[in-house]
């Protein structure tokens, strides 16, 4: 997966460094940034190459730690990352810091206990989160190295750390980056987003001890603000019914509705439905069987940045037979799920 730098592009810096209308100070700063940025890009490129090479060579990663460190940084409403380190976030007076620390640790525990995975990279990578990013920022994201959470505007959205599925979603982007390395466009982009919704939903259900039939399968339910709720919106996305009008951002349910150039948050509808439908068809806890299949499909075969949805579907169908051959209901549930999504 291509990971972009969060810095000004080189040609913009070059232009600023040469612009006679700007002060000497601004021109000098632009020129310095240009040199540093070039080196940072080289470092990031080589780090990504190393990750790919290690994965392809089949070498197990050298473990940084037996369990990940959890750090929380306060951006103090700026967009400077990572922000100021919060000392002892688990006992902070800031409930956002406390919640972020606690729930990030729980996501690490979820991946450890359910999938035997040691942190995002399976080698004990520190799980870094930045909170209070921007002013009333209605977003959360994985920037390639850490999680970033906005506070929400208090009207449409509440604090994005208030959704445990949101946290599971963002951290799973990191897992994808260190495994299947799905690109963020086309079919692969929709799969990338779907992996995050699937594992975010599983984490939410695991924390609640819910089985697939009792779960609501709603993404973003806990961050809906009063303005959204007053208008009858209950979630961002509904994995069980992607096109339902109670969603803030309804999605297609069938693969045939997807065309090139669509946003991954739109194209994740069909694979989300496939996973949800498979889990409900089989019954039981989503993470125990179908979730194990999805995890193997995501992490068991090395990078495939431009994977097509039909190929991911084929992989899960094959795994269902290989991993659960003595239980035909599993393969039947997986097949049913994908057929419901039109694949």
């Amino acid at each position: 997966m291509r990971c972009t730098c969060c810095i000004v592009p080189a040609d913009v810096l070059e232009r600023l460094a040469r612009d006679p209308d700007l002060s000497d100070e601004v021109r000098s700063a632009s020129a310095r940034t240009l040199k540093l940025s070039a080196r940072m890009r080289e470092l990031r490129f080589h780090a990504a190459e190393l990750t790919s090479l290690a994965t392809l060579s089949g070498l197990p990663p050298v473990e940084l730690a037996s369990a990940p460190a959890i750090t929380v940084h306060d951006c103090k409403h700026t967009q400077t990352l990572p922000g100021a380190l919060v000392a002892r976030p688990g006992s902070s007076a800031d409930p956002t810091a406390t919640r972020t620390s606690k729930e990030t640790a729980r996501v690490a525990e979820f991946f450890r206990k359910v999938f035997d995975r040691n942190s995002i990279d399976n080698a004990g990578m520190t799980m870094m989160s930045s909170i209070h990013y921007g002013v009333k920022y209605n977003n959360a994201m994985w920037n390639g190295t850490q999680m970033v959470y906005g506070d929400g505007d208090g009207a449409i959205f509440l604090d994005f750390t208030g959704g445990n599925d949101v946290m599971g979603h963002e951290l799973t982007h990191g897992v994808t980056q260190y495994s299947l390395q799905l690109a963020y466009s086309g079919d692969a982009g929709g799969l990338n987003e779907s992996m995050s919704d699937c594992f975010g939903a599983m984490f939410r259900q695991w924390e609640a001890g819910q089985d697939a039939k009792a779960a609501d399968w709603l993404i973003g339910h806990d961050i809906m603000g009063p303005t959204a709720k007053t208008k009858g919106y209950t979630c961002l996305r509904d994995m069980a019914d992607p096109g339902d009008p109670h969603c803030l951002a309804p999605q297609p349910a069938k693969y045939s509705e997807i065309t090139p150039g669509m946003d991954p948050h739109y194209t994740s509808g069909p694979p989300n439905l496939a996973f949800c439908a498979a889990c409900k068809a089989l019954g039981g806890k989503s993470w125990e069987t179908i979730g194990q299949l999805w995890y193997k499909a995501l992490t068991g075969f090395g990078p495939s940045p431009n994977m097509k949805m039909k190929d991911f579907a084929a992989r899960t169908r094959k795994l269902a037979t290989q991993m659960y051959g003595s239980t035909p209901a599993v393969a039947s549930a997986v097949d049913k799920g994908w057929k419901q999504a039109g694949l």
């Binding site: 291509r2 990971c3 972009t4 730098c5 969060c6 810095i7 000004v8 592009p9 040609d11 913009v12 232009r15 600023l16 612009d19 209308d21 700007l22 601004v26 967009q79 209605n138 977003n139 959360a140 994201m141 994985w142 920037n143 390639g144 505007d153 009207a155 449409i156 959205f157 994005f160 949101v166 979603h169 963002e170 982007h173 963020y184 466009s185 982009g189 990338n192 987003e193 995050s196 973003g220 303005t227 959204a228 208008k231 919106y233 961002l236 996305r237 096109g243 803030l248 951002a249 309804p250 999605q251 669509m262 946003d263 991954p264 948050h265 739109y266």
Partner: protein, 94 residues
């Protein structure tokens, strides 16, 4: 011709997607921007490659300006957009 219209798209919540109820829009006059920001915006329209779709769940910005040849639109990742442009959008629920 001296205004830039701005749409913020995507993000975790899927702003501005087909059927999405959440939009993020704004505009700004070029005359309201600092010389550095005007220069940065001009470079965004001139540059053909902005390094791909950006990190997962990051916002994208669609900027449109009017020229003598008609309207011109560019879509760029959030991290290349000047703060003065980013601060101009307002999130609304339709």
């Amino acid at each position: 011709m001296d205004r830039i219209t701005i749409e913020r798209l995507g993000g975790f919540a899927g702003f501005g997607l087909p059927g999405s109820r959440i939009k993020s829009r704004g505009d700004v006059a070029l005359s309201e921007l600092s010389p550095a920001d005007r220069s940065a915006v001009a470079a965004l329209f001139e540059r053909k490659d902005h390094g791909g779709p950006g990190p997962p769940d990051a916002f994208r910005y669609r900027l449109t300006r009017q020229t003598t040849q008609g309207s011109e639109t560019v879509e760029v990742p959030e991290h290349v957009v000047p703060e003065a442009i980013r601060n101009r959008v307002k999130d609304v629920l339709e």
